[in-house]
């Protein structure tokens, strides 16, 4: 005789609990944390390289880089002036809360104001795994195509800000901005967007200002 036992427990419960712990640690240290997600090649590292010099005179910034292998991205962030920690996920397609916890151990958190976490390049899995960041941003780049919100709804749904990178390429690419924005709006109403080009620097000010305001809000909260 078998018996049916109700469980009703989220499969990622353990991860979510550790994510909460991470956020608490960051709160106690007064660090505002952004989870930066995108497909490979969208410009996560380039955006970080552009962002660091614009903010480094006003706040202390650390970068945690998640990659399947290599430390290329962390090296680039360090060269741009940040304290950088590399996480090699060993094949895993996303960062999870436990990996972030170990990376936090390597930082003297109290000495930082802002932590930027560069997630693994992937438009699917990182959306499912909370890490404990206060806010999340997705970078879309126009060469990826205007249909991405429709194809990757999970990712577009779960973020607090959207950077639209490589706008300098718009004249050369069939990218219907209205169609793209309609898809975004269907999934995530009123999502704040930052069209910009990491190459030319056009549009960077609004993004920088958003980070600055969010970090200041967290500090005063």
């Amino acid at each position: 005789m078998t018996e049916r036992i109700p469980v009703v427990e989220n499969i990622l419960n353990a991860n979510d609990r550790i994510a909460l712990d991470n956020q608490q640690r960051l709160d106690e240290a007064g660090v505002f944390c952004i989870n930066l997600m995108a497909s490979p090649g969208a410009g996560k590292t380039s955006l970080i390289e552009r962002t660091l010099p614009a903010l480094s005179d006003r706040m202390a910034i650390a970068v945690i880089d998640g990659d399947v292998a290599t430390s290329i991205d962390a090296d680039r962030a360090a060269a741009a002036g940040a304290t950088a920690v590399q996480i090699n996920t060993g094949g895993q397609c996303h960062l999870d809360a436990t990996q972030l916890r170990h990376a936090l151990d390597e930082l003297d958190l109290a000495t930082f104001d802002l932590l930027i976490v560069e997630n693994v390049g992937n438009l699917i899995c990182p959306a499912s795994f909370k890490i404990g960041a206060h806010t999340s941003a997705l970078i879309a780049s126009v060469p990826e195509g205007d249909d991405k919100p429709y194809k990757y709804p999970g990712m577009y749904r779960g973020v607090d800000a959207l950077v639209i990178n490589k706008t300098d390429l718009l004249p050369y690419i069939d990218f219907d901005m209205a169609y793209f924005r309609r898809g975004v709006e269907l999934l995530n109403q009123g999502l704040v967007t930052f069209p910009l080009s990491c190459k030319t620097g056009e549009g960077m000010e609004a993004w920088i200002q958003w980070i600055e305001e969010r970090t200041a809000q967290a500090r005063n909260a």
Binding site: V7, E9, I11, G154, R157, G183, L187
Partner: protein, 126 residues
């Protein structure tokens, strides 16, 4: 691909609940997965067979209930499953919509066999 850690979580949660019930064996596990949860059933089953070996959950059958995406139109209150990539409301064409279902990712229940000497009701009556 993150089905291995996900499958390990399924095993951990199932074993914990089974132990609390004094189970001698888990025969079935009922999982609820929304379409947006990006999990491949076959991969979970593949890892399951490997990692459940030697536990009381070895050989348990995984049952997947897939929950399709359901959207709620904030303009006309309709609830619908979008066809293809167009998420707009089929009744009023509104683009003011919110997700109602489709992100679920949990273990609903497990089917267990009990050890005769760990029957809960007996313990309570004793």
């Amino acid at each position: 691909m993150h089905e291995l850690p996900v499958t390990e979580n399924i095993l951990d949660i199932s074993l914990r609940h089974a132990r609390a019930e004094g189970a001698s064996r888990i025969t079935d596990i009922y999982l609820v997965l929304g379409e947006l949860s990006s999990i491949v059933d076959d991969s979970v089953q593949f890892y399951w067979d490997l990692i459940s070996e030697g536990t009381i959950a070895e050989g348990a059958i995984l049952h997947f209930t897939r929950i399709p995406i359901t959207l709620h139109c904030l303009t006309c209150d309709a609830r619908y499953t979008p066809s293809g990539e167009d998420f707009a409301c089929p009744q009023c064409s509104s683009e003011r919509v919110e997700l109602d279902r489709g992100e679920e990712f949990y273990i609903d229940s497990i089917e267990i066999e009990r050890k005769p000497d760990h029957d809960k009701t007996e313990v309570v009556e004793a």
